[in-house]
Each structure stands twice: as structure tokens, then as C-alpha cells.
């Protein structure tokens, strides 16, 4: 029984991490209908840069900012000079992001090698504490993840629900042509959104590299997990990403604890089941 609750907590913390990493993916998809297959590699890039900055300055928060900013720049560049040209041609955009992810992943391997990196946490987040009721040790940084996910979720919600940019984004999710008709510079908005999505990926990378670790291959794992989270929760919906992350995180941890061999498969089974009954995802709107 104790194990059951701990695994629940593990699932919750992993879900937080998944949510943070999937946010950028779902944001870009929601507004722009771009399946950003380079999401995972952006995450890895952010993590490496965050690592360097933390090593150099010793400030963890600075690492997160640097990881986010550098990815935002790369994302903005991609959207402005490569992807933006093919807005609306979704297949071609997908292929381009695949090509970019192959190139960038190889570049990262060249620049940072095949070693495993762990980003040093600030003193207060290191190590573990004893959980009161369950009487087991638990990693501080994992508990913090829940808070981070809530912060990211709330900020994103505020941004989308309360700011002018958010209103434009929501309008864009519903009707892209309308935005254009209303005279918004849709190109600029797309660049901003893509940069934001990429920044989220970069920051998620730093957080991920601190809580767990990063190495070549992490990019693919996280692209896939983001994909599954977003498919299950509903494509393009932040709430859906949260729900999807929760389901997948719990499934993965219960799988790992009770049936380690097929843990990974559970994740995908959930997805296939959701798809069979609700192709647009649990909270997604129907495709048209």
C-alpha cells in the first residue's frame, strides 16, 4: 500500500515534468498546426546550454533562462527563415522539422559528445527529505517539479486567457484566416509563438537535465513522450496536455513498479485506446 502511494507521487512528479516538456509542443501545434518534430532536439539544446551556463556561473536559474532564451532564438530563426515560408503546408513543415532535428541532433553530439550530463541543482533543491506520512525519503527536486508545473501551467493560462497576445492566439486556434483578415501580422505572431514554444522546450530541458539527466537519445524520448501526452490529452490544448501528462506519468510509473517489462507499452496502449474512442484526444476539439 505504501508503494502504491509512493508510485502515485512518482507518477505525479513525472507527469509534472512531462507537462512542462509537452507545453511548448502543444502550444505550437495548437496555434500553427505545425507538428514540431524538432521539439525534442530543442529540449536537448536548451539542456546543454543550461548546463554550460550553470557550470560557468553557478546559478541554476540563470541556466534555465539561458536554455530558454537560446532555444527561443533558434526557434524564431527556424520559423522566420525556414518554416514560415511553408505555413499551411503541414506535411512539408513536418518533414522540415524532421530534417532539422536530424541535423541539430548530430551537431549536439559533435559539440557535447555522447556523455551523460547532469545539471547541478542549487543547494536547497539537492538531496532528499523524509516524507511525513509515508516515512520514506523523497527527492526535493521531484517535489519541486509539481510546483514548477503549476507555475508554468498558470503562467501559460494567464498568458492565453488574459493578455492581448493570448486573445490573438486563441482566435488563431479557432480561425487562422480571421486573424489575417483582421490585419494582424500573422507572420510575426507565428514567430513569437514558435519562439515561445521553443523557449518552453529549452527551459524544460534544463529542468529535465537537473531532475534526471540528459544524453544523446533524450531528444527522441521526449519528442515521443510529448507526442503521446498531446495526443492523449487533446492536440493544442494546455489543459489537455496537463491531463495527458498525468495519465501517462501515472501509467508509466505504475507500469515500472508493478510490471517493469511492459511499462513503456502501457503508455502507448492508453494512447491507442484513447484514439480508438476519441480521435481528437480527451480534451481536444474534433478535427475538421
Amino acid at each position: 500500500m505504501k508503494l502504491f502511494f509512493i508510485v502515485f507521487l512518482n507518477g505525479l512528479t513525472l507527469a509534472s515534468l512531462y507537462f512542462i516538456t509537452a507545453c511548448g509542443f502543444t502550444l505550437i501545434f495548437g496555434l500553427m498546426r505545425t507538428v514540431n518534430m524538432a521539439h525534442g532536439v530543442l529540449l536537448l539544446l536548451g539542456a546543454y546550454i543550461g548546463y554550460e551556463v550553470v557550470e560557468m556561473t553557478g546559478f541554476w536559474v540563470l541556466g534555465i533562462i539561458a536554455g530558454g532564451l537560446s532555444c527561443a532564438l533558434v526557434g524564431a530563426f527556424l520559423q522566420a527563415f525556414i518554416l514560415g515560408r511553408y505555413q499551411g503546408d503541414e506535411l512539408r513543415q513536418t518533414l522540415i522539422t524532421i530534417a532539422i532535428s536530424i541535423i541539430l541532433a548530430d551537431f549536439l553530439l559533435w559539440a557535447w559528445g555522447g556523455l551523460t550530463y547532469q545539471i547541478s541543482l542549487p543547494e536547497m533543491l539537492q538531496g532528499g527529505i523524509r516524507l511525513p506520512l509515508l516515512n520514506v525519503g523523497y527527492s526535493v527536486v521531484r517535489l519541486t517539479l509539481i510546483g514548477m508545473a503549476i507555475v508554468v501551467g498558470v503562467l501559460l493560462w494567464l498568458l492565453i486567457a488574459k493578455t492581448k497576445l493570448g486573445i490573438i492566439i486563441r482566435a488563431g486556434v479557432d480561425d487562422r484566416e480571421m486573424l489575417q483578415a483582421l490585419g494582424f501580422e500573422i507572420k510575426k505572431i507565428f514567430i513569437i509563438v514558435f519562439a515561445m514554444g521553443a523557449a518552453l522546450a529549452g527551459m524544460a530541458g534544463v529542468i529535465f537535465g537537473s531532475a534526471l539527466s540528459i544524453s544523446p537519445g533524450t531528444d527522441i524520448q521526449f519528442l515521443l513522450s510529448s507526442l503521446v501526452v498531446v495526443i492523449v490529452g487533446g492536440m493544442g490544448s494546455v489543459g489537455g496536455a496537463a491531463l495527458g501528462a498525468l495519465l501517462i506519468g501515472l501509467a508509466e510509473q505504475y507500469g515500472l513498479a508493478y510490471a517493469p517489462t511492459y511499462g513503456v507499452v502501457f503508455t502507448f496502449l492508453i494512447m491507442v485506446t484513447v484514439l480508438a474512442f476519441r480521435p481528437q484526444g480527451i480534451l481536444g476539439r474534433a478535427e475538421q
Partner: protein
């Protein structure tokens, strides 16, 4: 085009006389096998209008079936006469195709990409973790091509011709399928699914049938692939081969069945020789750049660009020739 096709086939028939075993096995035969798999993808893309990432999975289903029901060094499986094994393999890959179709039936565009990708990853992880049927990480090895009708398919020349024959059959099947009423209905679904229903044809079975048919074609490639590689493992159905197949289809162009094979040979040449020409460490970067270039500069792929260039040149000829070319290009 049909005459051009015939010529290509004739060249392919006499080609083995002039090339080394390596070129025959690792370049030509491998290209054709990959081409058949890519054909199953371009078929779906051209006629049903969806991009499926599950074709390697479907080929894998056939491949694993062959591995399981053939002699192998894994100690798993049941030995069946090779014809039964092949029939089962194609049956399973067709059913698997129908299954993918049933799940992805409502999805088009990027949605179909994401959903089929997810299905293929589920299969990949399953094969990797399951040891009782798929032998996990290591997979099956030591599978040999059978002796069929008195000739051993292990002989590289025989196998090459068997592959060529299969590719021709696959191409023929695709052409025949697309001109059958069901094939027409598939194309109808791509253009206007509502209208298909409004002429009395339910769309779900049509979509499922298209996926099932693509599963059959992919299955052909899966069978040949296992015989050529003499092995199959979870890696054969992983993300790498899945994306490679998409690259092949894109490079070749999705407008014409032949594009799949042109893409395959291009890809195999790059895959085999880039490591010699450039630094071995940066191989993936080269592949990525080639893909990026083709997607950006020649979105119709090599064959597509060739055809439209040809059209542009011939525009100035007289009308009769123009019509002829138009017919040629559309088989």
C-alpha cells in the same frame, strides 16, 4: 511512361551481368525492397491523402511472422513450409494494416502522421520488451531464404530477380487497385469523403481497405527484407527505419509509384557511400541536409521535379505531344 517503365525493367533484368555482388545485394536488391515499402507509403499518400508512419510496422509484422515460422537460430517459433509462412506473413500484415486503418480512419494530414507514429512506436516498444514472440532486443537471427520451386533464394542473383518480380507485382497491384472501383472510392475519399457517402459508399471500410492494401504491399517488402537481412529485431521497426522510409518517399516523390524506387536507390547510395566520401562521424548531418534540401527545393521529390521539368520543356511542342505526355505521366 509505360514504355519507359518497360525499359527500366529491361535494364534492371540485364544489369546483374555487369555489377559486383555488393552492388547487386547491398545496393540494388536493398533499394528495391525499400522501394516496395516506400510504395506502400506513397500509395496511401497519393491516393488516400494520408501520411502513414506505420508502414515499417506493417512490414515488420510480416517480417516477424516469417522469422517466427522459419528455421532460425533463436530457438523460438514453429517451422512451417515457406509458402505457408509467406501467406501468413502477408495475411498478418494486411490485417495489421486494417487495424491501423481502423484506428486512424478519422484522421488526415498531420493527425494521421501523429497517430500512425504513435502506433508504430507502441509496436516498437512491444517487440523490444516481449521475449516470448519477438525475442526482445536481440530479435531473430539466422533466418535463411527458402528454396522455392527448386531454386534457392539464398543465391543473390535468384533473390534479386525474385525481388524485382515482387516489385513489379507490387507496382502492378497498385495500378490495378487504383483503377478498381474500390481504388476509385479511395481516391474519392481523398477528394471529398462526404460525397463518397452521398453516393452510397460507406467511407470507413474504404479507408480500412486502403490501409489493409498498403499493409499487403508493406508485407511483401517485410518478407523480402527478412530474407535478405537474415534477421529482424526491434531495431528493424524502430523510429530510425520509420523516418528513413518517409525520407525515401519524400526524396523520390509521392506522385507516381516509381518515385518510391527512385527515392530508395538515392537513399541507399547516400546511406552506403556518404561514410566513404565524408567524415563517418557526421553521416546523419549529411542525411538531414539532403532531406532539408529536397523538401525545400524540390517538394515533389526527384521524380516529381523531373516530370514537371519535362512538362515545362515540352510545353512548346504541339498539342498532340502534350496530350501524349500527360497520359504518359499518369499511367
Amino acid at each position: 511512361m509505360s514504355r519507359t517503365l518497360l525499359l527500366i525493367v529491361v535494364i534492371l533484368i540485364i544489369l546483374p551481368a555487369f555489377i559486383s555482388d555488393f552492388w547487386l545485394n547491398q545496393i540494388l536488391t536493398r533499394s528495391i525492397i525499400l522501394g516496395i515499402a516506400a510504395l506502400s507509403l506513397t500509395f496511401l499518400t497519393t491516393y488516400l491523402g494520408v501520411v502513414s508512419f506505420a508502414q515499417i510496422t506493417l512490414a515488420g509484422v510480416a517480417g516477424y511472422t516469417i522469422a517466427y515460422f522459419s528455421p532460425n537460430t533463436t530457438g523460438l517459433g514453429i517451422e512451417l513450409p515457406w509458402l505457408f509462412a509467406v501467406a501468413l506473413a502477408l495475411l498478418f500484415s494486411t490485417l495489421a494494416g486494417a487495424f491501423v486503418g481502423a484506428i486512424a480512419k478519422k484522421s488526415v494530414g498531420i493527425y494521421s502522421i501523429m497517430i500512425t507514429l504513435a502506433i508504430s512506436m507502441a509496436f516498437f516498444y512491444f517487440t523490444r520488451q516481449n521475449y516470448s514472440i519477438f525475442n526482445g532486443w536481440t530479435g531473430f537471427s539466422g533466418i535463411t531464404a527458402p528454396v522455392a520451386f527448386g531454386v534457392s533464394l539464398e543465391d543473390s542473383l535468384v533473390f534479386y530477380y525474385a525481388t524485382l518480380l515482387s516489385a513489379t507485382a507490387a507496382g502492378y497491384l497498385v495500378v490495378k487497385f487504383t483503377s478498381s472501383p474500390l481504388g476509385l472510392a479511395v481516391q474519392g475519399v481523398k477528394d471529398a469523403a462526404r460525397r463518397v457517402r452521398a453516393i452510397g459508399i460507406p467511407t470507413t471500410p474504404v479507408i480500412i481497405a486502403a490501409y489493409a492494401f498498403s499493409g499487403f504491399i508493406a508485407g511483401m517488402s517485410g518478407v523480402l527484407n527478412v530474407w535478405q537481412q537474415e534477421r529482424i529485431s526491434s531495431f528493424s521497426v524502430g523510429l530510425g527505419p520509420t523516418i528513413d522510409l518517409l525520407i525515401i518517399a519524400v526524396i523520390g516523390g509521392m506522385r507516381h509509384p516509381l518515385g518510391a524506387f527512385i527515392g530508395a536507390i538515392t537513399y541507399v547510395l547516400i546511406d552506403t557511400f556518404v561514410i566513404d566520401l565524408f567524415s563517418r562521424d557526421r553521416f546523419n548531418m549529411i542525411i538531414g541536409l539532403v532531406l532539408l534540401f529536397i523538401v525545400m527545393a524540390a517538394p515533389q521529390g526527384i521524380l516529381g521535379s523531373f516530370l514537371s521539368a519535362q512538362k515545362r520543356i515540352r510545353k512548346y511542342d504541339n498539342n498532340a505531344i502534350k496530350r501524349k505526355i500527360k497520359n504518359d505521366c499518369e499511367i
